[in-house]
Amino acid sequence: MILVTGGMGFIGMHVVKALLDAGEPVAPTSHRSWRTPEIWGDDVLGKRVFPENLDVASTHDAVALAVKHKVSAVVHLAMPPIAGNNPSAEYITSMHGLINLLEAAKTAGAQRFVFASSNSVYGGLAAGPLYEDTLLPVASNSQINAFKKASEVLMMNWADRTGMSVAAVRPPGVFGPLYYSLYNMAGRFCHAAVKGVEANYPPSGIPYADSNADLAYVTDVAQVFARATLQPTLPHRIYNAGAGVLFTNGQLETAVKRVIPDAKVATNPGVNPNPGPPNFYLDMARVKADLGYTPQYDLDRGVAEYIDWLRTHPL
């Protein structure tokens, strides 16, 4: 049995599916939003999926849950919402949550602890490609950067002291089925195309065609999580989970219009006059070498499958 905190979040639901596909029963936890998606399969609740409510900031509840299910591994995805809390509440959910789940995993006799980190930890670097062992600045340019970076530092030292096998997985922007928060451009464009409405552009406005980002399809990300969780030995403790290449907004627009030609999605020519750092993509060589996995989705395939899914599901 594998405990997946935040297992009813976007990435969490796909991680649960990947673990189920690998034959593992799963206890996904939820704090506020309760979702048991169809991708988990029919008639699985109470048989192979055992959903639980959990506030990760509660030490005793976290330990009790891990022990109750005799978990063999913990995948810790739960995190505070990106906006809306105060710094103290976020600190408690992020930092108290981490130690509670680490200790819960140890107490239950789990063999592996996998932490959902983020490519945000690379924020502040002058250029990519981004390698797992790249040294990182102490200053952080976002709250996700700060909390994920501090969590990785503390988890690695906790693992040094306890002997627990741990891994941190660093995904970039992720899109695909069940993505509802729609922060990234792929989510915004695909939703607008299926609805037949003008894209809801981010506060910065219509994106520049030649600006780019590493953007991963959620199925690929879930595969990296599942392998980092289930592989008996891991040669490293940090794994990128990106597409491993840069996609431009122009390529995204083209990919969407290839499926829905009259989609009302647009880009402005050129690059953002305040460009991001060059080559800012996640190097995927370590995942290939250690976990035997190569990302399966380029932008065209990801957009096509996502739009296909959106057409048959309520938006």
């Binding site: 600190y91 108290h96 670097l125 990182l136 970076k149 501090a150 940090i238």
Partner: protein
Amino acid sequence: MILVTGGMGFIGLHTVRALLAAGENVAVSYHSSYRVPEFWKDEVGKRVVIEQLDVTSPHDVLALAQKHKVSGIVHLAMPGPAGLSPAEDYRTSMYGLLNVMEAARFVGVKRLTFASSSTLYQGLAAGPYTEDMPLPIDSANQTAAFKKACEVLLFHYADRTGLDVGAVRMRAVYGPMYYSLMNMPSRFCHAAVKGVEPNYGPAGAPYAQDTNDFSNVHDVAAVFQRVATADKLPHRTYNVSQGYEATFQELADAVKAVEPSFTVNLKPGQNPKGNPPNNYLSADRVKEVLGYTPQYGVAKGVADYIGWLRTHSL
């Protein structure tokens, strides 16, 4: 009134003295070990108030900061280097930091100064170590891990709330009132005064030509006082350093110069595992921004420490 958590620890005692010398009143908090040093005992009840505090209690930290209407906090309290479990170390370090940050914000202090460590630089290929260097995720020990995570979270909290913060990174600090004797200058000086060969610790005698950046506690306290009380801080992180690497041979020679009977058996040459080149912390920022140049090289620092040890019980 400035609150100094861990104010009865080794560095805390001297930081309190430096703040008093600069005209500040000080609230000294301690948890388990209570020490009133001769160099500020006459100020207790006048310019020094002493309070017991567990930094993991949010209400107690806040109440203490409010009671004394503190204008600044210097946060030195940390779990002991051995004895607690990883979870308890985590609780003291990470809950303690949050509670102190929140108290600082609620009472509106001018600045929160955090005691960090040069252990953050371990794992880097070469020095001199400067404050803005990017750092590895892995840590050589728990001090490195907790101090690194605390700095990350402190600076982020400051970004979010506008709290004015500073962090002081220090290394191999020695001098009067140092009792835990983890580092070599203190082991050498204590042994010299006792007339015995040093207890070198688990790693054995150091190599004569290996180096470290030894910091005298008077210099460390002076930097804490300046970071805590400067009107404006253009940076958030400050090294305390001599600004050069001294060999263990230099250290041994400095002890012998004061105590000629001192017996020490250094291993010849360098550790085959090697130190990174230029294994010292840059002192440039402290000099340029705070106008402070370390006053205690190895020779002066050792002489001062041995002089103090000779007149105090070991």
